[in-house]
Amino acid sequence: MGLEALFDPAFAASLPRFITPILLAALGGALCERAGVFNIALEGFVLVGAFSAVLGAYFFGSAAMGALTAVFGGVLMGLIFAEFHLRRPGDPIVVSIALNLLAAGLTTYLLRAIFDVAGAFRDPAIVGFEPIHIPLVAAIPLVGPVLSGQSALFYVALGAAVFMHVFFARHRLGLRLRAAGENPAALVAGGVSPERVRLWALVLCGALCGLAGAQLSIANVNLFVENMSAGRGWIAVVAVLLTRGRPLPLLAIVCLFGFVDSLSFRVQGLGWPQQFTDMMPYVATLAVLVVLSWWRLRRSA
């Protein structure tokens, strides 16, 4: 094996497949983090998004409709979170654990109830996203295959990261979100309900996580597998915690995760047992987490 094997165009082209879902979910998590909602149910949000996307893509026969239903499913999860954490005094960790479990149970249950299959559902009627080829960009060496020929959701994710940076800095809701996370009493004193602001954070988070799920089920592949979020929501949670919800560092760290993740996908061809390549994203995330936490701890001491 040689290093060139890792840096061929196919490898570059596979990067966005890993980055997109984690980035979208992490951006959703960032909204909650900045608004002071401790949402560690991203895993469940993404899973519901993935399932809803397949529902939409199958029944309406279009990827766009799949994305729309995915957003709908994600928003629904956000609303449930809001109902039990904002309107009722449920602890966010408890609500998160319950919602992750709910997503795992409900998607499997509905998979069997609606499609009468267990494990995985694949069907030609599921219409997924087609890659978008950008003529000039595609020709650029190295970056070309990354930036061209990806699903629409990849571009949405990149745009969302940049937009969110501006949103937090200059948008009314962005400003209020930050205030809700930092000193909500100031919002109350100004006559703005922090709860309402947080509701918006959860709704938008649900929408983004829904899209993350759509990327998994109708862009990366055209099928739904039980528990197909497979820990990506948790990796997104780690990314959010590490960057404290700042969109641009978030983008950077997710790219790092994605790079390691696709690396592992790549080395699978080198004869490693599959379990090790499966393990790689988590070990890589843990390693980044350990290094950065340790560095932070030393700096603050």
Binding site: I40, I93, L241
Partner: protein
């Protein structure tokens, strides 16, 4: 500002009736979605959880409850000490794997093999939990995330070990060889229930006595209520945390060992992950607000829910995943009604507008 709405929690049954109605309504809708006949489903549920020929299904429920209660006890010890160890799955898996390897490969008298297997499993579980604790205390990785992420390496490592180097190739499945029959935990006479449940009963007694009467349990709980308080009072908070995690992980490892020696008699890939034992254990603890004596009851309840759902699937074709879904629904409604179940920082003095803050 809903200051005036903040009446003290109503004592009585009325709010719980509302909760029950909601839960049943959701159950109804889900069953409707699966197009199941209700009468048959209910019958199937009851017989699946408590019935069967010579109560065979009740024994299955008890067997499952053994694992769930064990995991719940492990979680309870951590949670009461304010340690959000949600890595029970990894601790359980490694405990089971190590126990199985000892059971298969350690020569010697069966009793010794079982004892060594169980102890090794407990040690493995404890080590994995302590690792998450060390990451939090000495590296700054939040336990919540650290313990969770450690689940995955454990899961895939176990999967690799029984899938490649130590696989029972002849069986054609990713699983270890069988533990020698002599080292299997015996059944209670006349039943298909192994004596593993006795280990969990012992663990429950230990956990209850520990929580209520020991100095260590008291100190751990004070740390759980407020870590800054414990620290400022001079308690050895780091040592308490690591010791508590070790106990918690050891119980999880014990559960893995019981599953191996009592139920499956080998390590099968996914056998401890797929049924979501660890998560169900967490849910069982949250349902009863971490009250030690109630944890076994709550664990049994969820075990019955799961085996009952399996019965419902056999009788009426309702997918058994209904159980997991309903677990989540129950915990959502119940946990959001229970006050005082807060992990994300204590209630502050400025909880309401008004001077003085803390009442009269």
């Amino acid at each position: 500002m809903s200051v005036l709405d903040s009446t003290p929690p109503v004592r009585g049954l009325t709010p719980w009736i509302g909760v029950l109605v909601w839960i049943l309504a959701i159950l109804f809708v889900l069953m409707l979605a699966a197009g199941a006949p209700f009468g048959g489903a209910l019958e199937g549920f009851l017989s699946g959880a408590f019935g069967g020929r010579r109560f065979a299904y009740l024994m299955t429920t008890l067997s499952r409850a053994t694992l769930i209660v064990g995991m719940a006890l492990a979680v309870m010890l951590s949670f009461r000490a304010g340690l959000f160890n949600i890595g029970g799955e990894g601790q359980l898996v490694l405990g089971g794997l190590v126990a199985a390897l000892v059971g298969v490969y350690l020569p010697g008298p069966p009793l010794l093999v079982v004892a060594a297997g169980i102890l090794a499993g407990m040690a493995a579980g404890a080590a994995w939990a302590v690792l998450a604790g060390v990451l939090q205390l000495y590296v700054g990785v939040p336990l919540l995330v650290g313990s969770l992420l450690l689940n995955y390496p454990a899961r895939y490592l176990a999967s690799y070990v029984v899938g490649h180097p130590l696989r029972d190739v002849a069986s054609g499945l990713p699983q270890s060889h069988l533990v020698p029959v002599e080292a299997w935990l015996p059944f209670f006479p006349g039943t298909r229930l192994d004596i593993g449940i006795l280990f969990v009963v012992a663990a429950a007694v230990f956990a209850i006595v520990y929580s209520h009467t020991t100095v260590h349990g008291y100190r751990a709980r004070m740390t759980g209520h407020s870590a800054p308080f414990a620290e400022a009072s001079g308690l050895p908070v780091r040592r308490l945390a690591l010791q508590t995690l070790a106990m918690s992980g050891a119980i999880a490892g014990l559960v893995g060992a019981i599953a191996v020696f009592g139920i499956h008699h080998r390590y099968i890939d996914g056998m401890l992950v797929q049924p979501l034992y660890a998560w169900t254990g967490i849910v069982a603890v949250l349902l009863v607000k971490m009250i030690p004596w109630a944890v076994p009851l709550s664990g049994f309840f969820f075990a019955a829910l799961q085996t009952g759902a399996a019965g419902m699937e056999r009788a009426a074709g309702v997918p058994k995943e209904l159980a997991i879904t309903m677990q989540a629904v129950i915990i959502l409604f119940v946990a959001s009604r229970l006050t005082g179940l807060h992990f994300g920082g204590g209630a502050g003095e400025g909880g309401r507008p008004g001077e003085g803050g803390d009442g009269t």
